[in-house]
């Protein structure tokens, strides 16, 4: 290298990433990297790992520091200008509550997961990529907590998200998803999170939803969302790189990777059903429907990705056709279930206003008027007559995804889908063929699932009555839960906006 000459991007990557490794002299590699082989993945040559972005640690800190300065300038301005009064409607904040309790703790879990994966891999390129991602995920958890803390001053339900994440029934959906990934081996973990979730699926979480936040006046959330998503491009690249690397290293890896893709695509898709409800029901102003988002980001874009991977012998994830058949049902089924059980939730639900129902009819011409709109209109009438419907029983959950059994047969949308498996004399229940497949391959893992209704009935969640359980969750009953129109959030919002509450 000539003195004073600026390093090119490849040279810099060689000096400041690849050259950071060393050979071991007095310990065997298997002692230093004990988790490398048990998953069956064969790696011949770690030096073939190439990070396409070639981001080195010095550049990483420089750009991340710049992102933080921009983000915190927006957060400060938002707080100083009472930004919460500029959102379209207080109903919107319920999407933020679901995000804070359901997604932000996953960012922290990802921070831990990538620290584990970075330690487990034997190649320096993979180690450094995982280290950067681990730090990114910690940043995401922190910036989300800081951003959303402003809302905690004015709205209910945001006071104890991490406590709730570990206990609340519907939050066991995201929690068990991540626990499943982090308790796998390092290669499966990175395939699950970086590839299947981040590369194939998170565009749906961050792009329409964060663009939706902007559309609804929430500059604080859109800024942390896009700041996080700017790291996500790097994470997606890691996901694609690790998958291609495994496929190129040994032909025996191909069936293992395909099975992980099948499993984690389906697990991730089920997790995103909460996002479907957020997109179609919780944003007062909508950017696109769940159906349009799925078409754009999975059917179109995912198809291009899997076409690329077909040269390695990888096909589209199993059951992807089901996701297409379900796209006109998913958000409505999930919202109806949340509406049923919102007395036991940390956010409010409501029946959409007439223009919003019209929007759903327009976006879902084949299903909404036929299957869902009459149900929502009936519930609205009941609520107006003073009989707001709450479902008093506990739902049966799918053993794998832990979502209540709410998904319908795509061949007959008036039937709920039920699947079962027998294992060691017990019967297990599933919402779909996808979740049954996941269980059947690793039953010894999924029989251990911590299913909230079972735990409640066993007396492990604070007591035998719903108020006991909600106390165990740290809910402020009567303030955090229930119908939006009856809520303190609604009353406060009308007062701040100088409006009067309509007679019930």
């Amino acid at each position: 290298m000539a003195a004073g000459k600026r390093l090119g991007i490849k040279e810099k990557y060689n000096w400041m990433t690849k050259d950071l490794t060393w050979d071991f002299s007095y310990r065997k590699p298997s002692e230093i990297y004990p988790l490398l082989e048990f998953e069956g993945i064969k790696i011949e040559d770690w030096s073939k790992w190439e990070d396409p972005f070639r981001l080195t640690m010095d550049a990483y800190w420089k750009y991340q520091g710049e992102k933080e300065r921009k983000l915190y300038a927006v957060i400060d301005a938002f707080a100083q200008n009472n930004g919460h009064l500029g959102i379209t409607d207080a109903r919107y904040v319920n999407a933020v509550k679901l995000f804070m309790t359901g997604v932000s703790p996953l960012e922290y879990a990802a921070h831990r997961g990538f620290a584990m994966a970075g330690r487990a891999f034997a190649g320096v390129g993979a180690q450094v990529s995982c280290q950067m991602q681990s730090i990114d995920e910690l940043r995401h958890a922190q910036t989300q907590i800081h951003t959303i803390s402003h809302y905690n001053k004015y709205f209910n339900g945001l006071h104890d998200p991490f406590h709730m994440h570990d206990r609340v029934w519907y939050l066991s959906v995201p929690k068990s998803y991540f626990d499943d990934a982090v308790s796998a081996g390092p290669f499966e973990f990175v395939t699950a999170i970086s590839f299947s979730f981040e590369y194939v699926l998170t565009n749906l979480l961050f792009m329409p939803f964060m663009s939706g936040a902007a559309y609804n006046g929430d500059m604080a959330t859109v800024t942390f969302g896009f700041s996080a998503q700017s790291d996500e491009s790097r994470h997606m690249t890691l996901g694609l790189e690790v998958v291609k690397f495994m496929l190129e290293q040994h032909p025996d890896n191909v069936p293992i990777v395909q099975r992980w893709i099948d499993k984690w695509f389906w697990r991730g898709y089920r997790l995103l059903s909460l996002v479907a409800a957020m997109m179609d029901y919780m944003l007062p102003k909508r950017v696109m429907s769940w159906k349009e988002g799925w078409e754009m980001y999975f059917e179109h874009n995912g198809a291009a990705l899997f076409k690329d991977l077909s040269r390695y012998g990888i096909r589209m994830p199993k059951h992807w056709e089901v996701t297409v058949a379900e796209k006109e049902h998913l958000s409505h089924e999930v919202w109806a279930t949340l509406y049923n059980f919102t007395h036991a939730a940390d956010f409010h639900t409501w029946i959409p206003e007439k223009e919003e129902l019209d929007w759903l009819s327009e976006k879902y011409p084949n299903t909404f008027d036929r299957y869902y709109r009459p149900r929502f209109e009936y519930w609205r009438e009941q609520q107006k007559a003073g009989r707001r419907f709450y479902n008093p029983t506990l739902p049966q959950l799918c053993q794998t995804c832990q979502i209540p059994m709410l998904f319908v047969e795509t061949s007959d949308p008036t039937l709920i889908a039920y699947r079962t498996s027998q294992y060691q004399g017990n019967k297990y229940h599933f919402c779909s063929d996808g979740c049954k497949d996941v269980f059947d391959h690793e039953p010894e893992k999924y029989v251990q699932a911590w299913l909230p209704p079972h735990q409640i009935y066993q007396g492990n969640c604070g007591g035998a009555t719903i108020p006991d359980v909600l106390g165990y969750y740290h809910f402020n009953v009567g303030r955090d839960n229930g119908e939006y129109l009856d809520s303190e959030d609604h009353t406060n919002w009308l007062r701040w906006k100088g409006q009067v509450k309509a007679a019930a």
Binding site: A214, S230, L305
Partner: protein, 90 residues
């Protein structure tokens, strides 16, 4: 759109504007769609960001990795050198 489309999504900011303009100039087949706070650029097969194009609009030297400050999402395989950043299908 065909099934070999690649895309780049950028924040709708002052930093990203010259990048978007450069892409439009350098990729005649690219389609630009505006969303709230976001601009998404799709292109068939390949999409390239050229350092010199961005620099000529910015009036200063620009490191390609500065694109990380504006980027929201990508689809496609990355090829990056000191002079350009490309997304392409295999």
């Amino acid at each position: 759109m065909s099934s070999d489309t690649v895309f780049l999504a950028l924040q709708n900011t002052e930093d990203a504007r010259p990048i978007v303009e450069s892409i439009v100039a350098d990729n005649p087949l690219a389609t630009v769609t505006q969303y709230p706070a976001m601009v998404k650029i799709d292109a068939p097969g390949r999409l390239v960001v050229r350092r010199q194009s961005v620099e000529s609009r910015l009036g200063r030297s620009w490191d390609l990795q500065e694109i990380h400050l504006s980027m929201i999402s990508i689809s496609g395989n990355i090829e990056e050198t000191d002079d350009y950043f490309a997304l392409e299908r295999a």
